[in-house]
Amino acid sequence: MIFLLQKALIFAIPLLIVALAGMFAERSGIINIALDGIMIFGAFAGAFASFYLRRSPFFVDHNQLLFLICLLIAAVFGAVFSLLLSFSAINLKADQTIGGTALNLLAPAVTLFITKVLFNKDKLEMETALDSSGKSRDFGYAILNGELGPVGQVLFDKAYISTFLALLIFVLMSVWIYKTKTGLRLRACGEHPQAAASVGISVVRMRYLGTTISGALAGFGGYAYVATVANGTAEGTVAGMGFLAIAIMIFGNWKPLGIVFGSLLFGFLKCLAVTYNKSLIVPLESQTWMQNLLAGSEGFKAFYEAIFKNMYFYNLIPFVTVLIVLAFTSKKSRAPKAEGIPYDKGAR
């Protein structure tokens, strides 16, 4: 169970932070469908930096510091990359979906192109390296472990430092967008830019701000994904994580709390699939009683075997669940949507 929660958190964190990234862009009025591409680009930048920095023994010894630096670099490059979107969407008033799609195509192309020219490989791996005492070090578990109790184990044992950082950033940014003047202005630009402009808010500046924050967060999330879920391999894809984050954002109704709920739910369901897949926890505890319940007749048993002994079934669960929940909640979440969908560009 503890293992499950740890895994769930690892999955949830990139989703959480990237969904927040999407929220920032859309609240300022820009559809950031390029989250996937920005994640890829940021992840690549971070992995690239890590690859070169780890040649110096200092960074191999201080892998936590290196991890932080790489996260920062990923965020910066993500922000820079997102400027392409801002420029096309804000300055040239291009269709945001087209611009975003272009970035989604561009990021894997550029990163794979550079990777292949420089390393003659299709992926960039951050391998473990030997530190000064000859111990093999990867790029960063948190140091704590041992007698922490169940809560402590979930949160600290073998947790990545990016997890805490992401949670901290998430809380700070959520408070920022709701409680500060700039946050309010940013949201106003997403709701009714003309009204915002009429009281002297620079819509252009606010939208640039929103999209750039979005890019930074997505870059951060991209590196967090590559360093944790993907075991340090940047290969020009984040397995559709950026798109899923968009789904989580819509699922969370463009609100931080909804995003937290959505990404945790999704992370949990997703890790069910992965744990089953790797047969680490093959018979989930819940399965035994279901087995008893269903195994009344042979037919049921065969049916059960076919369905529940199959990893594809567990892979399906998170997607189907989100879909069903959406169908049921969409009516309820309609009211805030109608006033809050930050799609209307309407900039004049």
Partner: protein, 464 residues
């Protein structure tokens, strides 16, 4: 997105929106190639191992496409294969374009494609050879694949129409659901479908093993033994049909009206929910049809264990549609062009220090520029408007703009879309007036359509 316009004799060649669309696309392509060249150049300059001349060589190879193959026979062979691989791309491009026309973003083409592949492969491989003529099996398989795609495409449409869930999210979810279902089905029936004869087990048996393959009409021989078959012709026919449907029928008009302004369409008595569902269903069918055409060729390997990746051809439908500014006929050319560039790129690793990703980079940049196409067209308009603005406004308005401004304000909101902002995505309509009375439309209209000066009749004279 362009309406076939009745250009008066006064309208210059460059004012015609079709010409402008093509010109804008060409400018985008040129821009993409320039950026691609610059990237190669930068790479060559900064890398010690790569001589600078390599950059020029690289871009020339990309540009020459299949011609880079070398001797005439290889060129023909590569051309044939490029055309063949362009077929599914045309279909997914059409799928995305149709959805765009209705104001929907069909990012679910990969999932629909997978479902189509599954449907057609299952039927093609499970009907025993000889029980009926091969062409009947082919047709059944084709229809089964397409039908499955229709169903799969209808799901996002249903969620959008019934629950008002954003179609993008449902498409993304259904993509992954499809990927898992397809893997699951083939996993459960491995012994029946998976190709174990050839040592690799990642692929489904080729349909030719059951005697099913698309007629080639000698096209394969014509192109030196390539895979090419009549599927490219079928795809082109479908594109033409789609064009006719969109532009010459009431149904197509309704779809486009829903895309331009959903509320206006509803106000005019169109059932916009039904239209959304139908549009997505047809889009799904088109993508699936591409998969069926590809799989039923008979010689192709379909990778069945696909639950961790989605087919690229589905996503590449988006650039194909965008580059053609959603014109079905244009999609044929843009898809072939994309394959052309891809083919050129595939020769890079052998000949230069660069690699095939350059072509993807160029395509991405082209799409990025395609976002500016309105900007480019405005620019073209401005340039060509100068001599025309002297001519009396009413005369020009009569020839080029079908409806004078005052008729719009009175009636026929259904006509509004044509004049109203062309590139406004339908989401706009949602946010604008979810429950505001449609009577507001005229206000927006008159605001958006400037008085009949030079820009008024330019179909792109709208500003946001």
């Amino acid at each position: 997105m362009r309406k076939p316009e009745k250009t008066g004799s006064k309208a210059s060649f460059f004012r015609r929106s079709a010409v402008q669309s093509v010109a804008a696309s060409l400018i985008c392509i040129f821009g993409g190639l320039v950026v691609g060249f610059l990237v190669l150049l930068l790479m060559a300059v900064f890398s010690k191992d790569i001589p600078v001349s390599e950059a020029l060589k690289g871009i020339l190879i990309v540009l020459s496409g299949p011609v880079a193959a070398g001797n005439p026979r290889d060129i023909l062979f590569t051309c044939g294969n490029s055309l063949f691989t362009a077929t599914p791309l045309i279909m997914t491009g059409l799928s995305v374009a149709l959805a765009f026309k209705t104001g929907l973003f069909n990012i679910g083409a990969p999932g629909q494609y997978l479902m189509g592949a599954m449907g057609s492969l299952i039927v093609a491989l499970s009907i025993p050879q000889g029980s009926m003529p091969a062409w009947i099996i082919w047709t059944l398989a084709f229809l089964a694949g397409t039908l499955l795609g229709v169903i799969w495409g209808a799901i996002p449409g249903f969620f959008k129409a019934k629950f008002n869930v954003n179609e993008v999210i449902v498409c993304i979810l259904t993509n992954w659901i499809a990927a898992n279902i397809v893997s699951w089905v083939f996993y459960a029936h491995q012994e029946q479908f998976v190709n174990i004869a050839e040592t690799k087990t990642n692929f489904i048996r080729k349909t030719i093993s059951n005697g099913v393959s698309t007629a080639t009409l000698g096209l394969d021989k014509l192109f030196a033994g390539s895979y090419l078959d009549v599927s490219i012709i079928i795809a082109c026919l479908i594109a033409v049909l789609l064009y006719v449907m969109l532009n010459k029928t009431t149904f197509g008009y309704e779809l486009r009206a829903c895309g331009y302004n959903r509320n206006a369409a509803r106000y005019a008595g169109m059932n916009e929910k039904r239209n959304i569902m139908l549009s997505m269903a047809i889009a799904g069918g088109l993508a699936a049809c591409g998969a069926a055409l590809w799989c039923l060729n008979g010689q192709q390997d379909f990778k069945w264990n696909t639950y961790q990746s989605l087919p690229n051809v589905g996503f590449n439908g988006i650039p194909a549609a965008l580059l053609a500014s959603n014109n079905p006929i244009g999609v044929i050319f843009s898809a072939i062009f994309l394959r052309y560039i891809d083919t050129g790129g595939s020769y890079l690793p052998g000949e230069t220090a660069f690699n095939e990703y350059v072509s993807q980079l160029i395509i991405a940049v082209i799409i990025y520029f395609a976002g500016f196409s309105k900007f480019i067209k405005d620019f073209l308009n401005k340039k060509n408007n100068k001599p025309l603005s002297v001519s009396p406004a009413p005369a020009v308005a009569g020839t080029a703009a079908p409806e004078p401004p005052d008729t719009e304000t009175k009636d026929v909101p259904a006509e509004n879309p044509d004049i109203q902002t062309e590139d406004v995505p339908a989401e706009n309509a949602d946010a604008q007036t979810e429950d505001a009375p449609p009577a507001e439309n005229p206000d927006i209209q008159t605001e958006d359509a400037p008085p009949a000066d030079g820009t008024a009749l330019g179909k792109d004279g709208d500003r946001k």
